[in-house]
Structures are given as C-alpha cells and as structure tokens.
C-alpha cells in the first residue's frame, strides 16, 4: 500500500480546504506591533538606567567585600613577621606549659611537630595569667 503522489496531494488539499483562514490574525499582529513600537519609545529611558547598572553592581560588590570578607580575614597587623599561628601558652601559676586549642587543652608531650599544628591554636582556657610565646 504505497500512496501515490496524486493521492497525497489530493488528501492534503482536501484537508486544507476544510479549514477556513481566521480573519482576526492581522488584528493580533497589529496589536503586537503596536506594543513593540510602544516599547521602542520607552527604550531610551531604560537605556539611561542600564548605563548605571555596572556602577551599581560594582558598588554592591565593594560593599559586600568590605562588610563580609574583610572581618573574616586574619588580623595580620598584630602578628610578628616570622611566626606561625601556633602558640604555646604557659599559665603563670603552673610549672608545666600547655598548648591550648579552641576545643581542648593538651600537654606539651602530646604535641605534634610545629609544622603539623593547627593554625587555630593560641586561644587559652582557664588560668589566671598567660604568656604567649612566639615559636
């Protein structure tokens, strides 16, 4: 059953003839074109606004950098040049020096070599007087 070219042509014509062409298409297109030209008329104002967009983005980025990133950076001004961030804290009232971390206090004998130490060390807990030693 192979349809002949003539059968296909006739069938397509028959099908197309069944459907009337809608009359209101131009009205819709015209309305849309009207909206387009309205938009074009408004465009200069939008363009003026868009010129300021990079400046606004830059300002917001600078603000974000200042308020969010700067405080989270390490305070380098108070640090000696030649130090790591490890500190051994010796409580003045005790004879045995201890190294403190934010989480726990360990004895000196348990310490790793300095290069493996956590940079977060240096916060002390407990004790009356403390002395921070640079390594």
């Amino acid at each position: 059953m192979r349809p002949s070219d003539r059968t296909i042509r006739d069938e397509l014509r028959r099908e197309a003839a069944r459907v009337p062409v809608p009359e209101d298409m131009w009205q819709n297109i015209s309305r849309q074109l009207e909206l387009d030209s309205e938009r074009k008329r408004r465009r200069p104002r939008v363009r003026w606004l868009s010129e300021w967009r990079p400046a606004v983005i830059l300002g917001v980025a600078a603000g974000f950098f200042w308020f969010a990133l700067i405080p989270s950076l390490p305070n380098t001004e108070n640090m000696p040049d030649n130090t790591t961030q490890t500190a051994i804290v010796i409580p003045a009232s005790k004879t045995e020096p201890t190294v403190t971390t934010a989480r726990s206090t360990v004895k000196e004998s348990d310490l790793d070599p300095p290069d493996k130490m956590s940079p977060a060390m240096g916060t002390s807990t407990g004790g009356a007087a403390y002395k921070t030693l640079p390594q």
Binding site: M1, P3, I8, L12, V21, M25, I29
Partner: protein
C-alpha cells in the same frame, strides 16, 4: 546551492513592498501579510494540524518577519525566508506545547469496513475502500514527525521543487529527495500496519534500512 522561490507578487512590486516595510510603513506590512496569509496559514495547519496552533504559527512567523525585516537583504527570496521562519515556528510551537502527534486514535478499520458495507451498500466497493484509504493516509501524515511533514506539505500541497524546499529548510536538494523518500516509506509503513498488511511493513523496513536518512 539553493534556488529562490518565485514571489507571489511581481518581483519588483514585492521588492517595493518590502522596502516600504523596512521604512516602517504599517500599511505595507498589512499588504505583505495579506499576500501570503492564506498560503502560510494552510501550510501551518497541515504541519501542526490544529487551527489555533496554526494561527499562533502564522502570527509568530509574521511578527518575526516584521521585527527583523530591516535585516532582510534580498539575498534569498522573501517567500523562502518567510516559509523558513514558518517551518521553524511550527516545529518550535509543537515542541513547546508538547502536542501529542497522534491527534486522534485510529478507529478499528476492519469494523468500520463492515459497517460501511452494511450501511452504505449503495456505494460501489471501490469508493468505500478509497475513502478508507484516504482516511488512513490523512492519519498517517499526522504520524510523521514535523520536519518530514513540512517537506511533504511543501512538496505535495505547495508543489515546491526539491531545490525550492531546500531553500526553505536549508539543505541541498539531495537531502530533500531522501527525506521525501523516507517520508513516503513511513507513510506506506504506517498505512500497511493500519490496514493489517505486515508483509508490506517488513518490505518497508527493509527499504528504509537500505536508505538511511
């Protein structure tokens, strides 16, 4: 590589009309629309097979044409440019709205045939069979994918040459030829399956595998 389509209007008149459109003359837009409206609508309807969708295709296609007509540089014919936009728009709309290609389930042909013989016995047998064949053909055209259906409609309804179809869908005439061949084989295959002829389906598959597109 591609040949241009003959304009509906005289060549010079059409150029003049397009130049007026490029200058923003709304009246020229309307004239150009009226010139091609019926053909583009029928083409769109035969591809999307739904009146409302066809209307959307026509409107979107013409809006695209009018919005970008200042970029049209007369390198191809306006007609092939317009049809290319309409084909793309039809495919886009079908994809976007996810229209199910099988618009209506095919009724049981054998039962219909019995009913036809019983109730329409005044008609000659050939006429009844021909009517059924046409109905199945119409359904089978609806089963083609939008690209093959566009090629079939341009070829058989608009009677474009292979070169002209190539200008519309943007491929060489050889590709158009092979697409048409594949479309015809798909039609034959679908119709044979629908009419309960598995031998023809098998033959069709064998031909398709020898001519992959």
């Amino acid at each position: 590589m591609v040949a241009d389509l003959e304009p509906v209007y005289g060549h010079d008149e059409e150029i003049l009309l397009i130049e007026h459109c490029q200058a923003g003359d709304r009246r020229a837009f309307e004239d150009l629309f009226n010139l091609y409206r019926d053909d583009v609508f029928r083409f769109s309807y035969l591809v999307v097979r739904d009146t409302n969708l066809a209307q959307d295709v026509v409107q979107e296609a013409f809006l695209k044409v009018f919005r970008s007509i200042d970029k049209f540089q007369f390198r191809s014919s306006f007609k092939s440019w317009l049809y290319r936009i309409a084909v793309n728009e039809a495919i886009t709309i079908l994809r976007r709205k996810k229209v199910k290609e099988e618009l209506e389930p095919m009724p049981d042909v054998s039962r219909e045939r019995t009913v036809s013989y019983a109730t329409r016995d005044w008609q000659p047998e050939e006429a009844v069979l021909e009517g059924e064949e046409r109905r199945i053909l119409r359904w089978a055209i609806g089963q083609l994918d939008p690209v093959h259906r566009s090629v079939v409609v341009l070829k058989y309804f608009h009677e474009f040459s292979d070169t002209e179809i190539g200008a519309v869908i943007g491929c060489p005439p050889g590709t158009v030829k092979s697409r048409l061949h594949r479309a015809r084989e798909l039609l034959r295959n679908t119709m044979a399956r629908q009419m309960g002829r598995p031998d023809l389906v098998a033959l069709s598959y064998a031909r398709l595998s020898n001519n992959p597109v």
